[in-house]
Protein backbone atom coordinates (compact mmCIF):
# COMPACT_ATOMS: atom_id res chain seq x y z
CA UNK A 1 0.00 0.00 0.00
CA UNK A 2 2.78 2.41 0.98
CA UNK A 3 6.33 1.78 -0.19
CA UNK A 4 9.38 3.98 0.43
CA UNK A 5 12.27 3.06 -1.88
CA UNK A 6 15.58 4.48 -0.76
CA UNK A 7 13.99 7.86 -0.04
CA UNK A 8 16.03 10.91 0.89
CA UNK A 9 14.45 14.28 1.62
CA UNK A 10 16.62 17.35 1.88
CA UNK A 11 14.84 20.65 2.49
CA UNK A 12 15.84 23.67 0.39
CA UNK A 13 17.74 25.05 3.39
CA UNK A 14 20.00 21.97 3.22
CA UNK A 15 18.55 20.13 6.22
CA UNK A 16 18.34 16.39 5.50
CA UNK A 17 15.01 15.38 7.07
CA UNK A 18 15.16 11.76 5.88
CA UNK A 19 17.99 9.66 4.52
CA UNK A 20 17.81 6.42 2.54
CA UNK A 21 14.46 5.35 3.94
CA UNK A 22 13.17 1.91 2.94
CA UNK A 23 9.77 1.13 4.38
CA UNK A 24 6.80 -1.00 3.35
CA UNK A 25 3.40 -0.70 4.95
CA UNK A 26 0.77 -3.23 3.87
CA UNK A 27 -2.95 -2.74 3.53
CA UNK A 28 -4.72 -2.68 6.87
CA UNK A 29 -1.58 -2.26 8.98
CA UNK A 30 -1.27 -0.06 12.04
CA UNK A 31 2.17 1.52 12.31
CA UNK A 32 3.72 3.90 14.82
CA UNK A 33 6.47 6.15 13.52
CA UNK A 34 8.43 7.20 16.59
CA UNK A 35 11.50 9.19 17.48
CA UNK A 36 12.56 12.41 19.15
CA UNK A 37 11.41 15.76 17.83
CA UNK A 38 13.10 16.83 14.61
CA UNK A 39 13.99 13.34 13.36
CA UNK A 40 11.73 13.46 10.31
CA UNK A 41 8.44 11.86 11.41
CA UNK A 42 6.26 14.62 10.00
CA UNK A 43 8.38 14.74 6.86
CA UNK A 44 7.80 11.03 6.32
CA UNK A 45 4.04 11.52 6.46
CA UNK A 46 4.23 14.58 4.21
CA UNK A 47 5.91 12.50 1.53
CA UNK A 48 2.93 10.16 1.55
CA UNK A 49 0.28 12.84 0.98
CA UNK A 50 2.53 14.74 -1.44
CA UNK A 51 3.05 17.77 0.72
CA UNK A 52 6.74 17.22 -0.02
CA UNK A 53 8.51 15.40 -2.84
CA UNK A 54 11.55 13.20 -2.20
CA UNK A 55 14.94 14.56 -3.20
CA UNK A 56 15.96 11.02 -4.06
CA UNK A 57 14.18 7.69 -4.31
CA UNK A 58 10.46 6.98 -4.74
CA UNK A 59 7.39 6.96 -2.56
CA UNK A 60 4.76 4.60 -3.91
CA UNK A 61 1.16 4.76 -2.74
CA UNK A 62 -1.16 2.14 -4.20
CA UNK A 63 1.52 1.30 -6.75
CA UNK A 64 1.75 4.90 -7.94
CA UNK A 65 4.87 7.04 -7.72
CA UNK A 66 3.56 9.96 -5.70
CA UNK A 67 6.17 12.46 -6.91
CA UNK A 68 5.20 11.78 -10.52
CA UNK A 69 1.57 12.82 -10.01
CA UNK A 70 1.03 16.12 -11.83
CA UNK A 71 0.04 19.02 -9.55
CA UNK A 72 -3.46 19.21 -11.00
CA UNK A 73 -4.14 15.58 -10.07
CA UNK A 74 -2.86 15.57 -6.50
CA UNK A 75 -6.46 15.95 -5.29
CA UNK A 76 -7.12 12.35 -6.37
CA UNK A 77 -4.33 11.09 -4.09
CA UNK A 78 -5.55 13.29 -1.24
CA UNK A 79 -9.01 11.76 -1.39
CA UNK A 80 -7.40 8.40 -0.67
CA UNK A 81 -5.64 9.74 2.39
CA UNK A 82 -7.11 11.23 5.56
CA UNK A 83 -4.77 13.37 7.64
CA UNK A 84 -5.09 14.61 11.22
CA UNK A 85 -2.74 16.91 13.12
CA UNK A 86 -1.69 17.80 16.61
CA UNK A 87 -3.44 21.20 16.32
CA UNK A 88 -6.69 19.70 14.90
CA UNK A 89 -7.01 22.40 12.20
CA UNK A 90 -10.73 22.93 12.61
CA UNK A 91 -12.46 26.01 11.22
CA UNK A 92 -13.13 28.05 14.37
CA UNK A 93 -16.27 29.78 13.10
CA UNK A 94 -18.02 26.58 12.05
CA UNK A 95 -19.74 23.94 14.12
CA UNK A 96 -18.73 20.29 14.36
CA UNK A 97 -21.32 19.42 11.74
CA UNK A 98 -20.24 22.26 9.44
CA UNK A 99 -16.58 21.36 9.77
CA UNK A 100 -17.29 17.84 8.59
CA UNK A 101 -19.75 19.03 5.94
CA UNK A 102 -17.12 21.44 4.64
CA UNK A 103 -14.76 18.61 3.68
CA UNK A 104 -17.60 16.81 1.92
CA UNK A 105 -18.93 19.89 0.12
CA UNK A 106 -15.54 20.88 -1.29
CA UNK A 107 -15.04 17.40 -2.67
CA UNK A 108 -18.34 17.55 -4.53
CA UNK A 109 -20.52 15.38 -2.27
CA UNK A 110 -24.20 16.23 -2.64
CA UNK A 111 -26.23 17.78 0.17
CA UNK A 112 -28.35 14.66 0.53
CA UNK A 113 -25.28 12.43 0.84
CA UNK A 114 -23.81 14.84 3.41
CA UNK A 115 -26.93 14.72 5.59
CA UNK A 116 -26.87 10.93 5.40
CA UNK A 117 -23.17 10.45 6.11
CA UNK A 118 -22.39 12.92 8.88
CA UNK A 119 -24.51 11.26 11.63
CA UNK A 120 -22.78 8.00 10.80
CA UNK A 121 -19.33 9.50 11.36
CA UNK A 122 -20.40 11.45 14.43
CA UNK A 123 -21.56 8.14 15.84
CA UNK A 124 -18.25 6.49 14.97
CA UNK A 125 -16.16 9.13 16.75
CA UNK A 126 -18.63 9.48 19.63
CA UNK A 127 -19.80 13.03 19.01
CA UNK A 128 -23.45 12.38 18.21
CA UNK A 129 -24.60 14.72 20.93
CA UNK A 130 -22.50 17.76 19.94
CA UNK A 131 -23.08 18.48 16.25
CA UNK A 132 -23.85 22.15 16.87
CA UNK A 133 -20.90 22.95 19.11
CA UNK A 134 -18.19 25.30 17.95
CA UNK A 135 -14.58 24.09 18.32
CA UNK A 136 -13.96 26.54 21.16
CA UNK A 137 -16.80 24.90 23.10
CA UNK A 138 -15.19 21.45 22.83
CA UNK A 139 -12.45 19.73 24.81
CA UNK A 140 -9.20 18.89 23.02
CA UNK A 141 -10.25 15.27 22.69
CA UNK A 142 -13.58 16.24 21.17
CA UNK A 143 -11.84 18.58 18.75
CA UNK A 144 -9.56 15.78 17.62
CA UNK A 145 -12.58 13.49 17.23
CA UNK A 146 -14.14 16.10 14.98
CA UNK A 147 -10.94 16.24 12.95
CA UNK A 148 -10.96 12.46 12.69
CA UNK A 149 -14.58 12.44 11.52
CA UNK A 150 -13.67 15.04 8.90
CA UNK A 151 -10.64 13.02 7.74
CA UNK A 152 -12.76 9.87 7.48
CA UNK A 153 -15.77 11.42 5.85
CA UNK A 154 -14.49 10.57 2.36
CA UNK A 155 -13.74 6.99 3.44
CA UNK A 156 -10.02 7.12 2.70
CA UNK A 157 -8.20 3.75 2.81
CA UNK A 158 -5.22 5.45 4.48
CA UNK A 159 -5.27 7.54 7.66
CA UNK A 160 -2.18 9.54 8.65
CA UNK A 161 -1.97 11.03 12.15
CA UNK A 162 0.81 13.48 12.97
CA UNK A 163 1.19 13.67 16.77
CA UNK A 164 -2.59 13.28 17.18
CA UNK A 165 -2.33 13.24 20.98
CA UNK A 166 0.37 15.84 21.38
CA UNK A 167 -2.06 18.35 22.88
CA UNK A 168 -4.08 15.87 24.94
CA UNK A 169 -3.89 14.45 28.44
CA UNK A 170 -3.02 10.73 28.83
CA UNK A 171 -6.61 9.51 29.32
CA UNK A 172 -7.91 11.40 26.33
CA UNK A 173 -4.89 10.29 24.31
CA UNK A 174 -5.73 6.71 25.10
CA UNK A 175 -9.32 7.18 23.94
CA UNK A 176 -8.15 8.73 20.68
CA UNK A 177 -5.73 5.82 20.16
CA UNK A 178 -8.53 3.34 20.68
CA UNK A 179 -10.60 5.23 18.17
CA UNK A 180 -7.73 5.02 15.67
CA UNK A 181 -7.48 1.30 16.35
CA UNK A 182 -11.20 0.91 15.71
CA UNK A 183 -10.78 2.74 12.42
CA UNK A 184 -7.90 0.40 11.60
CA UNK A 185 -10.10 -2.60 12.33
CA UNK A 186 -12.67 -1.23 9.88
CA UNK A 187 -10.00 -1.72 7.22
CA UNK A 188 -8.01 1.52 7.04
CA UNK A 189 -4.22 1.54 6.94
CA UNK A 190 -3.13 3.79 9.83
CA UNK A 191 0.21 5.54 10.36
CA UNK A 192 0.72 7.46 13.58
CA UNK A 193 3.72 9.71 14.12
CA UNK A 194 4.31 10.27 17.81
CA UNK A 195 6.89 10.53 20.55
CA UNK A 196 4.46 9.40 23.26
CA UNK A 197 6.27 6.23 24.34
CA UNK A 198 3.81 5.24 27.04
CA UNK A 199 0.99 4.98 24.58
CA UNK A 200 3.05 3.18 21.97
CA UNK A 201 3.99 0.59 24.54
CA UNK A 202 0.40 0.03 25.59
CA UNK A 203 -0.77 -0.49 22.02
CA UNK A 204 1.75 -3.22 21.06
CA UNK A 205 1.79 -2.39 17.34
CA UNK A 206 4.45 -2.25 14.67
CA UNK A 207 6.96 0.49 15.56
CA UNK A 208 9.26 2.23 13.08
CA UNK A 209 11.83 4.24 15.00
CA UNK A 210 13.59 7.19 13.39
CA UNK A 211 16.68 8.88 14.65
CA UNK A 212 18.66 11.54 12.87
CA UNK A 213 16.72 11.10 9.66
CA UNK A 214 17.29 7.32 9.35
CA UNK A 215 15.27 4.29 10.41
CA UNK A 216 17.03 2.73 13.38
CA UNK A 217 14.47 0.04 14.20
CA UNK A 218 11.39 -1.58 12.67
CA UNK A 219 9.66 -4.21 14.84
CA UNK A 220 6.24 -5.83 15.18
CA UNK A 221 4.32 -5.65 18.49
CA UNK A 222 7.12 -3.52 19.79
CA UNK A 223 7.65 -1.06 22.52
CA UNK A 224 9.48 2.23 22.42
CA UNK A 225 11.64 3.81 25.01
CA UNK A 226 12.37 7.42 24.40
CA UNK A 227 16.09 7.92 24.66
CA UNK A 228 17.13 10.62 27.04
CA UNK A 229 18.06 13.67 24.98
Amino acid sequence: MIDFRNVTLIYPNGIPALRHINLRVGKGEFVFVVGPTGTGKSSLLKLIYREEKPTEGEVMVNGENVAAIPDHSVWQLRRHIGVIFQDFRLLPDRTVWENIAFALRVTGVSGRQIRRRIPEFLELVGLSTRPDALPAQLSGGEQQRTAIARALALDPPILLADEPTGNLDPDTSWEIMQLLERINLRGATVLVATHDSEMVNRMRKRVVALNNAVIVRDEQKASYHAQPV
Binding site: V74, R78, L91, A103, T107, G108
Partner: protein, 302 residues
Protein backbone atom coordinates in the same frame (compact mmCIF):
# COMPACT_ATOMS: atom_id res chain seq x y z
CA UNK B 1 -18.76 17.68 -11.97
CA UNK B 2 -20.39 20.82 -10.56
CA UNK B 3 -23.71 19.79 -9.10
CA UNK B 4 -26.31 22.21 -7.83
CA UNK B 5 -25.31 22.02 -4.18
CA UNK B 6 -21.67 22.66 -5.13
CA UNK B 7 -22.70 25.76 -7.05
CA UNK B 8 -24.82 26.92 -4.15
CA UNK B 9 -21.89 26.34 -1.82
CA UNK B 10 -19.44 28.24 -4.04
CA UNK B 11 -21.75 31.23 -4.30
CA UNK B 12 -22.36 31.20 -0.56
CA UNK B 13 -18.60 31.10 0.04
CA UNK B 14 -18.05 33.98 -2.39
CA UNK B 15 -20.74 36.06 -0.69
CA UNK B 16 -19.42 35.29 2.77
CA UNK B 17 -15.97 36.30 1.57
CA UNK B 18 -17.36 39.67 0.48
CA UNK B 19 -19.25 40.14 3.73
CA UNK B 20 -16.19 39.32 5.79
CA UNK B 21 -14.27 41.94 3.86
CA UNK B 22 -17.03 44.51 3.58
CA UNK B 23 -15.14 47.80 3.53
CA UNK B 24 -12.58 46.65 1.00
CA UNK B 25 -15.26 45.05 -1.17
CA UNK B 26 -17.29 48.27 -1.16
CA UNK B 27 -14.24 50.31 -2.12
CA UNK B 28 -13.52 47.88 -4.94
CA UNK B 29 -17.12 48.03 -6.18
CA UNK B 30 -17.08 51.83 -6.22
CA UNK B 31 -13.71 51.96 -7.97
CA UNK B 32 -14.93 49.52 -10.59
CA UNK B 33 -18.14 51.53 -11.03
CA UNK B 34 -16.35 54.85 -11.49
CA UNK B 35 -13.75 53.33 -13.82
CA UNK B 36 -16.37 51.61 -15.93
CA UNK B 37 -18.60 54.71 -16.08
CA UNK B 38 -15.79 57.06 -17.08
CA UNK B 39 -14.39 54.57 -19.57
CA UNK B 40 -17.81 54.04 -21.07
CA UNK B 41 -18.37 57.81 -21.30
CA UNK B 42 -15.08 58.19 -23.13
CA UNK B 43 -15.92 55.27 -25.33
CA UNK B 44 -19.27 56.82 -26.29
CA UNK B 45 -17.61 60.20 -26.99
CA UNK B 46 -14.87 58.63 -29.07
CA UNK B 47 -17.44 56.68 -31.02
CA UNK B 48 -19.51 59.81 -31.56
CA UNK B 49 -16.60 61.93 -32.84
CA UNK B 50 -15.39 59.03 -34.94
CA UNK B 51 -18.78 58.73 -36.55
CA UNK B 52 -18.90 62.50 -37.06
CA UNK B 53 -15.56 62.28 -38.84
CA UNK B 54 -16.80 59.48 -41.01
CA UNK B 55 -19.57 61.72 -42.22
CA UNK B 56 -17.13 64.54 -42.96
CA UNK B 57 -16.00 63.53 -46.48
CA UNK B 58 -19.33 64.44 -48.05
CA UNK B 59 -19.36 67.74 -46.28
CA UNK B 60 -15.75 68.60 -46.80
CA UNK B 61 -15.04 67.83 -50.45
CA UNK B 62 -12.17 69.56 -52.08
CA UNK B 63 -12.69 71.79 -55.05
CA UNK B 64 -9.84 71.64 -57.59
CA UNK B 65 -9.89 74.54 -60.08
CA UNK B 66 -8.25 74.03 -63.45
CA UNK B 67 -6.38 76.89 -65.11
CA UNK B 68 -8.33 78.80 -67.72
CA UNK B 69 -5.71 78.30 -70.41
CA UNK B 70 -5.86 74.48 -70.21
CA UNK B 71 -7.12 72.72 -73.33
CA UNK B 72 -9.94 70.20 -73.18
CA UNK B 73 -7.44 67.35 -73.23
CA UNK B 74 -5.34 68.90 -70.52
CA UNK B 75 -8.46 69.28 -68.33
CA UNK B 76 -9.25 65.63 -68.82
CA UNK B 77 -5.64 64.83 -67.97
CA UNK B 78 -6.00 66.60 -64.60
CA UNK B 79 -9.03 64.43 -63.83
CA UNK B 80 -7.11 61.29 -64.71
CA UNK B 81 -4.19 62.25 -62.45
CA UNK B 82 -6.55 63.12 -59.58
CA UNK B 83 -8.10 59.68 -59.71
CA UNK B 84 -4.66 58.10 -59.38
CA UNK B 85 -3.77 59.90 -56.16
CA UNK B 86 -3.84 57.98 -52.88
CA UNK B 87 -6.74 58.59 -50.46
CA UNK B 88 -8.87 59.96 -53.29
CA UNK B 89 -12.25 58.33 -53.13
CA UNK B 90 -14.32 60.02 -55.79
CA UNK B 91 -13.74 62.63 -58.49
CA UNK B 92 -16.57 64.53 -60.11
CA UNK B 93 -16.18 66.97 -63.01
CA UNK B 94 -18.09 70.21 -63.09
CA UNK B 95 -17.59 72.24 -66.26
CA UNK B 96 -17.30 76.02 -66.29
CA UNK B 97 -20.78 76.26 -67.74
CA UNK B 98 -22.36 74.04 -65.09
CA UNK B 99 -20.43 75.83 -62.37
CA UNK B 100 -21.63 79.19 -63.61
CA UNK B 101 -25.21 77.97 -63.76
CA UNK B 102 -25.00 76.65 -60.24
CA UNK B 103 -23.45 79.85 -59.02
CA UNK B 104 -26.25 81.88 -60.49
CA UNK B 105 -28.86 79.56 -59.09
CA UNK B 106 -27.33 79.95 -55.64
CA UNK B 107 -27.41 83.69 -55.98
CA UNK B 108 -30.97 83.39 -57.08
CA UNK B 109 -30.57 86.18 -59.65
CA UNK B 110 -31.54 86.10 -63.26
CA UNK B 111 -28.34 87.20 -64.91
CA UNK B 112 -27.70 85.27 -68.12
CA UNK B 113 -24.33 84.51 -69.64
CA UNK B 114 -25.04 87.11 -72.20
CA UNK B 115 -25.29 89.80 -69.56
CA UNK B 116 -21.62 89.57 -68.57
CA UNK B 117 -18.59 89.79 -70.78
CA UNK B 118 -17.30 86.36 -69.88
CA UNK B 119 -17.98 83.31 -67.69
CA UNK B 120 -15.90 83.88 -64.50
CA UNK B 121 -16.09 80.24 -63.38
CA UNK B 122 -13.31 77.68 -63.90
CA UNK B 123 -13.54 74.01 -64.81
CA UNK B 124 -13.70 72.27 -61.46
CA UNK B 125 -13.15 68.79 -60.07
CA UNK B 126 -14.92 67.97 -56.83
CA UNK B 127 -12.71 65.50 -54.99
CA UNK B 128 -13.82 63.50 -51.96
CA UNK B 129 -11.31 61.65 -49.84
CA UNK B 130 -11.42 58.23 -48.25
CA UNK B 131 -9.35 59.52 -45.29
CA UNK B 132 -10.22 63.11 -44.46
CA UNK B 133 -7.31 63.30 -42.03
CA UNK B 134 -5.01 63.05 -45.08
CA UNK B 135 -6.43 66.24 -46.58
CA UNK B 136 -3.28 68.19 -45.95
CA UNK B 137 -0.97 65.89 -47.90
CA UNK B 138 -3.52 65.32 -50.66
CA UNK B 139 -3.94 69.05 -51.08
CA UNK B 140 -0.18 69.49 -51.47
CA UNK B 141 -0.01 66.71 -54.03
CA UNK B 142 -2.90 68.19 -56.03
CA UNK B 143 -1.39 71.68 -56.04
CA UNK B 144 1.70 70.31 -57.76
CA UNK B 145 -0.28 68.82 -60.66
CA UNK B 146 0.07 70.69 -63.98
CA UNK B 147 -2.77 73.05 -64.95
CA UNK B 148 -4.18 73.11 -61.42
CA UNK B 149 -5.04 76.68 -60.55
CA UNK B 150 -5.87 76.24 -56.88
CA UNK B 151 -7.38 73.86 -54.38
CA UNK B 152 -10.10 74.90 -52.06
CA UNK B 153 -11.04 72.91 -48.98
CA UNK B 154 -12.40 73.58 -45.57
CA UNK B 155 -9.13 72.97 -43.90
CA UNK B 156 -10.05 74.28 -40.48
CA UNK B 157 -13.09 72.09 -39.99
CA UNK B 158 -11.37 68.94 -41.13
CA UNK B 159 -8.36 69.55 -38.95
CA UNK B 160 -10.57 70.34 -36.02
CA UNK B 161 -12.71 67.25 -36.27
CA UNK B 162 -10.01 64.75 -37.05
CA UNK B 163 -7.90 66.34 -34.31
CA UNK B 164 -10.78 66.19 -31.86
CA UNK B 165 -11.41 62.58 -32.70
CA UNK B 166 -7.76 61.75 -32.16
CA UNK B 167 -7.54 63.66 -28.87
CA UNK B 168 -10.72 62.11 -27.54
CA UNK B 169 -9.54 58.62 -28.45
CA UNK B 170 -6.06 59.13 -27.03
CA UNK B 171 -7.22 60.79 -23.82
CA UNK B 172 -9.91 58.16 -23.46
CA UNK B 173 -7.44 55.36 -23.94
CA UNK B 174 -4.99 56.80 -21.43
CA UNK B 175 -7.71 57.41 -18.87
CA UNK B 176 -9.11 53.93 -19.40
CA UNK B 177 -5.69 52.36 -18.92
CA UNK B 178 -5.11 54.25 -15.69
CA UNK B 179 -8.61 53.54 -14.36
CA UNK B 180 -8.54 49.89 -15.31
CA UNK B 181 -5.11 49.43 -13.78
CA UNK B 182 -6.48 51.01 -10.60
CA UNK B 183 -9.50 48.71 -10.64
CA UNK B 184 -7.38 45.63 -11.23
CA UNK B 185 -5.19 46.69 -8.32
CA UNK B 186 -8.04 47.28 -5.89
CA UNK B 187 -10.10 44.23 -6.88
CA UNK B 188 -6.94 42.13 -6.85
CA UNK B 189 -6.11 43.39 -3.40
CA UNK B 190 -9.59 42.60 -2.12
CA UNK B 191 -9.18 39.07 -3.40
CA UNK B 192 -5.72 38.84 -1.86
CA UNK B 193 -7.16 39.77 1.52
CA UNK B 194 -9.96 37.28 0.92
CA UNK B 195 -7.41 34.54 0.26
CA UNK B 196 -5.58 35.50 3.43
CA UNK B 197 -8.79 35.54 5.46
CA UNK B 198 -9.68 32.09 4.16
CA UNK B 199 -6.24 30.50 4.37
CA UNK B 200 -7.48 27.89 6.87
CA UNK B 201 -10.31 26.89 4.57
CA UNK B 202 -7.91 26.73 1.64
CA UNK B 203 -5.49 24.52 3.59
CA UNK B 204 -8.29 22.13 4.51
CA UNK B 205 -9.68 22.07 0.98
CA UNK B 206 -6.27 21.08 -0.28
CA UNK B 207 -5.72 18.36 2.26
CA UNK B 208 -9.11 16.70 1.83
CA UNK B 209 -8.63 16.70 -1.95
CA UNK B 210 -10.69 19.54 -3.38
CA UNK B 211 -9.85 20.24 -6.99
CA UNK B 212 -7.69 23.29 -7.63
CA UNK B 213 -10.44 24.77 -9.79
CA UNK B 214 -12.90 24.35 -6.96
CA UNK B 215 -10.57 26.11 -4.54
CA UNK B 216 -10.13 29.00 -6.95
CA UNK B 217 -13.74 29.39 -8.00
CA UNK B 218 -15.09 31.25 -4.94
CA UNK B 219 -12.35 33.87 -5.34
CA UNK B 220 -13.02 34.19 -9.05
CA UNK B 221 -16.73 34.61 -8.34
CA UNK B 222 -15.90 37.16 -5.64
CA UNK B 223 -14.01 39.30 -8.15
CA UNK B 224 -16.79 38.98 -10.71
CA UNK B 225 -19.45 39.88 -8.14
CA UNK B 226 -17.48 43.02 -7.28
CA UNK B 227 -17.02 44.18 -10.86
CA UNK B 228 -20.48 43.04 -11.95
CA UNK B 229 -22.03 45.14 -9.20
CA UNK B 230 -19.70 47.94 -10.26
CA UNK B 231 -20.95 47.65 -13.84
CA UNK B 232 -24.58 47.88 -12.72
CA UNK B 233 -23.77 50.98 -10.69
CA UNK B 234 -21.93 52.47 -13.66
CA UNK B 235 -24.98 51.90 -15.86
CA UNK B 236 -27.19 53.64 -13.34
CA UNK B 237 -24.73 56.51 -13.20
CA UNK B 238 -24.67 56.82 -17.00
CA UNK B 239 -28.43 56.73 -17.19
CA UNK B 240 -28.59 59.71 -14.84
CA UNK B 241 -25.83 61.53 -16.70
CA UNK B 242 -27.51 60.92 -20.05
CA UNK B 243 -30.84 62.22 -18.77
CA UNK B 244 -29.18 65.28 -17.34
CA UNK B 245 -27.22 65.97 -20.52
CA UNK B 246 -30.24 65.61 -22.76
CA UNK B 247 -32.07 68.16 -20.62
CA UNK B 248 -29.19 70.60 -20.68
CA UNK B 249 -28.68 70.31 -24.45
CA UNK B 250 -32.34 70.42 -25.39
CA UNK B 251 -31.86 73.64 -27.40
CA UNK B 252 -28.93 72.32 -29.41
CA UNK B 253 -30.39 69.30 -31.10
CA UNK B 254 -28.74 70.05 -34.43
CA UNK B 255 -25.39 69.76 -32.69
CA UNK B 256 -26.24 66.77 -30.51
CA UNK B 257 -27.63 64.92 -33.50
CA UNK B 258 -24.33 65.39 -35.29
CA UNK B 259 -22.57 63.77 -32.31
CA UNK B 260 -24.45 60.51 -32.16
CA UNK B 261 -22.55 57.45 -30.97
CA UNK B 262 -25.17 55.25 -32.58
CA UNK B 263 -25.35 52.72 -29.75
CA UNK B 264 -28.41 52.13 -27.61
CA UNK B 265 -28.56 51.97 -23.85
CA UNK B 266 -29.06 48.21 -24.07
CA UNK B 267 -26.01 47.70 -26.22
CA UNK B 268 -24.06 49.82 -23.78
CA UNK B 269 -25.38 47.71 -20.89
CA UNK B 270 -24.33 44.49 -22.54
CA UNK B 271 -20.85 45.82 -23.31
CA UNK B 272 -20.40 47.33 -19.86
CA UNK B 273 -21.49 44.20 -18.01
CA UNK B 274 -19.34 42.05 -20.27
CA UNK B 275 -16.30 44.27 -19.77
CA UNK B 276 -17.07 44.51 -16.04
CA UNK B 277 -17.23 40.75 -15.53
CA UNK B 278 -14.02 40.26 -17.52
CA UNK B 279 -12.33 42.95 -15.47
CA UNK B 280 -13.28 41.15 -12.26
CA UNK B 281 -12.29 37.75 -13.59
CA UNK B 282 -8.94 39.12 -14.76
CA UNK B 283 -8.21 40.91 -11.48
CA UNK B 284 -9.03 37.93 -9.31
CA UNK B 285 -7.09 35.55 -11.55
CA UNK B 286 -4.02 37.71 -11.08
CA UNK B 287 -4.32 37.46 -7.31
CA UNK B 288 -5.25 33.79 -7.41
CA UNK B 289 -2.23 33.00 -9.52
CA UNK B 290 0.02 34.94 -7.18
CA UNK B 291 -1.31 34.19 -3.74
CA UNK B 292 -3.07 30.85 -4.06
CA UNK B 293 -0.14 28.88 -5.37
CA UNK B 294 0.28 25.31 -4.20
CA UNK B 295 2.40 25.96 -1.14
CA UNK B 296 2.93 24.28 2.16
CA UNK B 297 -0.11 23.74 4.32
CA UNK B 298 1.80 25.11 7.27
CA UNK B 299 2.18 28.40 5.44
CA UNK B 300 -1.51 28.29 4.66
CA UNK B 301 -2.40 27.49 8.22
CA UNK B 302 -0.53 30.18 10.09
Amino acid sequence: MLNLSSLEFLLAEAFSGLKRNRVMALAAILTAAVSLAISAAFGVCALATHRACERLPQQFDMAVYVKREASEGQVRDVGRRLRMLPYVDNVEFISREEGWKEFRKQLGTEISTQDVLYNPALDTYRVSLSHPEQSDSVQKAISKLPYVDSVDWRQKEVVFFTGLSRVVSAAGLMTMIVLFAGSVFIIGNTIRLGIYARRREVAIMRIVGARASFIRLPFLLEGMLISGTGALLALLLMRFAANYLSQVTRGFQSVTRFFDSGISYWQLSAVLIGVGLSLGAFSSSMSIRRYLREGSLEKGQR
